[in-house]
Symmetry: C2
Subunit: 342 residues, 2 copies
């Protein structure tokens, strides 16, 4: 009986096998496919596993089986409220699965996004989940070469990227702008940050709708590459009002920006919603409880994460991707930062 363990390393499958008096593969099976091992052996093996504190080596498992049981999620920026709900949804679905999940930041940067995607791919992940995306072409290339399923949550219309779960951000923006128009706001600026494919779609909805009314003014578009945040919302509103004092409403492409815009309005003594309207996007958790509560576009992000994870799991389990795209819709939440419609 070969006993290697030259160095005081951690317990391996072989150690467990030796101690239990069976072969390595039987231990492996007892752990992964309990049904294929007799009850007697299984019990004996599990006992040794518990005693020795054996933990499978994922690197070895990944190398041998061609997938490491980990779902990798590429997120524009993990620390944001909008993403939080998606993550909750994903983990809810992965609960009680033998899959695990890990995240990485893409930082809304095409280059970092690419490198991270490559890093993921090089680890034999069970699958990849993408929320957001910068460069469509790069993503397509990498995804086509991937040997694991990929599901993304960018925009329902980007089916070129493979399976997608999400909403139509262009239409959602159109509805939001319609609402602001219905409230009789006329000089509507748009504030966006962390520009990615989704943000671009929202901008398009804004432009198209205002053009229809002959109210589109490219000067009122402010798009910054940096990450969205409350302080940035303050700054953007301030700059907007200083260069265009006649603006009477802002469509903020994220609720953080909207909250920042609101604080700044308050500071400047502007009356919201009477003289100035604010519409956010996402309906993150503080939107409904702010004072005044924030008018915003609700995107079902929890469901998005859940469904995306669900689709991914099905594909991991060999199911053919039935739906190439699932539209979860959106909902305009009319609250306190826009005045009553006429």
């Amino acid at each position: 009986m070969r006993q290697k363990r030259i160095r005081g390393e951690r317990t391996t499958l072989l150690d467990v096998a030796n101690k239990a008096g069976v072969s390595a593969i039987t231990v492996s099976r007892a752990l992964r496919e309990p049904d294929r091992v007799s009850e007697e052996l299984r019990e004996r093996i599990l006992k040794v596993v518990a005693e020795t504190g054996y933990v499978p080596d994922f690197a070895a498992r990944a190398l041998a089986s061609r997938h490491n049981g980990i779902v990798c999620a590429l997120i524009p920026e993990v620390s944001s409220l909008a993403v939080m709900n998606i993550i909750h949804g994903i983990e809810a679905r992965l609960q009680d699965t033998d899959l695990r999940i890990q995240y990485a930041n893409a930082w809304r940067d095409a280059d970092k996004e690419k490198r991270q995607l490559e890093l993921f791919l090089s680890q034999h992940p069970a699958g990849i989940l993408m929320a957001g995306g910068q460069n469509q072409q790069i993503i397509v290339d990498l995804i086509l070469g991937a040997k694991c399923p990929v599901v993304h949550m960018i925009d329902i219309n980007l089916t070129a990227l493979g399976t997608v779960v999400g909403s139509d951000h262009c239409t959602a923006a159109k509805v939001a702008i319609r609402h602001l128009l219905d409230c009789r706001y006329r000089r509507i600026a748009i504030l966006g940050a962390g520009v990615d494919l989704r943000v671009q779609r929202r901008l398009e909805g804004y432009r198209v709708t205002l053009e229809e009314e002959g109210l589109y003014d490219p000067q009122l578009v402010m798009m910054l590459p940096e990450a969205t945040s409350v302080p940035l919302g303050c700054r953007m509103l301030r700059e907007t009002m200083e260069s265009h004092p006649d603006v009477d409403a802002v469509f903020c492409l994220n609720d953080d920006l909207a909250l920042g815009a609101y604080f700044e309005c308050k500071r400047r003594g502007m009356r919201v919603p009477e003289d100035f309207g604010i519409c956010g996007y996402n309906d993150v958790n503080f939107a409904a409880v702010a004072e005044p509560p924030l008018t915003t576009v609700r995107i079902p992000r929890y469901d998005m994460g859940y469904r995306a994870a669900d689709l991914l799991i099905r594909q991991i389990n060999g199911e053919k991707a039935a739906h190439q795209s699932i539209d979860l819709g959106f909902q305009l939440m009319v609250r306190g930062t826009t005045r009553d419609t006429a």
Copy 2:
């Protein structure tokens, strides 16, 4: 010359080696330690690498080298503003390093924390970073068994857990409470959520300080296990005021709770800071720009992440851990939600 490539798999090191007419190890070296390969060979090899689009297999690399070049970070909840700064700091330090980072949620749950730590360990990470922690004993056990360096950012006094970068949360809380007392608030409630080791330390500082003044009342302590959030802050303030209408200030263990508490105060017509004081914790990005701006305790979280990553890198590179703990201090930011001191 052995040409396997039976299946249409991806390019391997051997493929590159064959094409370049060298051995596998030389390609490996050309990629990892360029200096040890002659310039001529290196150029030839890198050319083939580029042509074939070769990407290293991290699972194989991890198995062979006993570490996969990935720093794993265990975070209580990745989607929170407080964590955002830490993450920025970490990634700033890891920038231009050949290390990469990935995150996982511990969900402020001892069991999940343990499982995730095991999962990390089983992947041969280059190192582990922990922000927050639930169960000291479990963590100690796992960390002692780890064969990679571990640095945590829980509380400066928890040196039992190994290398630590952070602040003294107990003292910070004492200073905050002192400030509230100086502002002549007397019935000070404490609102906390997502209770973990750090939150417990803050609670201790609160208790000790009020006990000294004979003002401690356990009824005014509200600690919830669920995650901190703005809506939760609203709810906790509401419940506090309903059961103890005489409370005249709250110490919120996170700024989200403080913002929620403020919104609720505004809704209830309470005057902040004249009749009611609010002090937050962390000084997340919205604190300074809120209207009124939020009095809070600033923890240097960006530096924390940066220094923690720095220490980890040093240990990965074989340096002995010189400092076992680095105290980054804290700072009370007196702003608009507490009235002037007497």
